[in-house]
Subunit: 157 residues, 2 copies
């Protein structure tokens, strides 16, 4: 985790920017919806979750009684947030171990005015301790080609 | 893969509807952006990809020269599409084995007018042979609670 600057590159799909850690945290800052990737047996699974990111960790909540708590506890997970924009798309991935936090954490989170989804008794909080955060920004031009009715290929805007 | 009707239920997070396979395919029909979940070693990874879904399979493209082709070939993958709406959110997951298709497939896809991202030479196509497709719709009301300035809790709309 030592990248400090956005790095323009050229991928097989077109112009792409490898984003710095600072930019990655900035893009996913605050609360929103992201996707949690876990492995169950040999099967990867993806769950959309509400999350909060503060520049050091990612926290998401898991309702008491759902499977998610048991699935993620102390496991390697990936947490991904992406966005489709007018000029480019971006995707940020946080990888690390997931830790289920106890009631004291929920209380502290409430005191610190964590997210809009303030803790209620039926929620568990799960924190990802990041081992890496990486992101890429994909420029729209040359990202794809479109075939016109006459068969010609042109960049998809 | 035999569900035939949407099934209203009640989760710990609020009202939720277990979607039928027909509804799931309908929601992800056509082309768009989804997220591919794979396992590399013990680490789950998530990649946003362009895709096309026709009610039987999900096809996504992988640019020649990227890692994705080698990563997904003959592996168990999950492909997830979700949407945040005014009244509810939904999420659909397709699980199955990924198969890298040869040039003949790209040609056939072109003839069948597959997606807007018609094949060009630098793309590989990867098909997911679904072993399951499942989806859930989360109603917004009671999905979360918001704490007002005076400390009272109310449903987040």
């Amino acid at each position: 985790m030592n990248s400090t600057a956005d790095l323009p590159e050229w991928s097989a799909q077109g112009p792409v920017v490898e984003l710095s850690e600072e930019t990655c945290w900035s893009l996913i800052a605050g609360a929103g919806i992201g996707r949690l990737g876990v492995v169950i047996g040999e099967q990867p699974e993806i769950f959309p979750v509400n999350y909060f990111a503060d520049g050091e960790t990612v926290v998401f909540r898991s309702a008491e009684g759902t499977k998610l708590r048991g699935i993620v506890a102390d496991r390697l997970v990936v947490f991904e947030v992406d966005s489709v924009g007018e000029f480019h798309n971006w995707s940020v991935s946080v990888k690390g171990a997931a830790e289920v936090m106890g009631p004291a954490y929920a209380n502290r989170a409430a005191e610190d005015a964590l997210p809009p989804w303030h803790p209620v008794t039926e929620y568990n909080f799960v924190e990802i301790r990041p081992s890496s955060i990486t992101g890429r920004q994909f420029e729209h031009h040359l990202n794809a080609v479109r075939r016109s009715d006459d068969g010609t290929l042109s960049p998809e805007l």
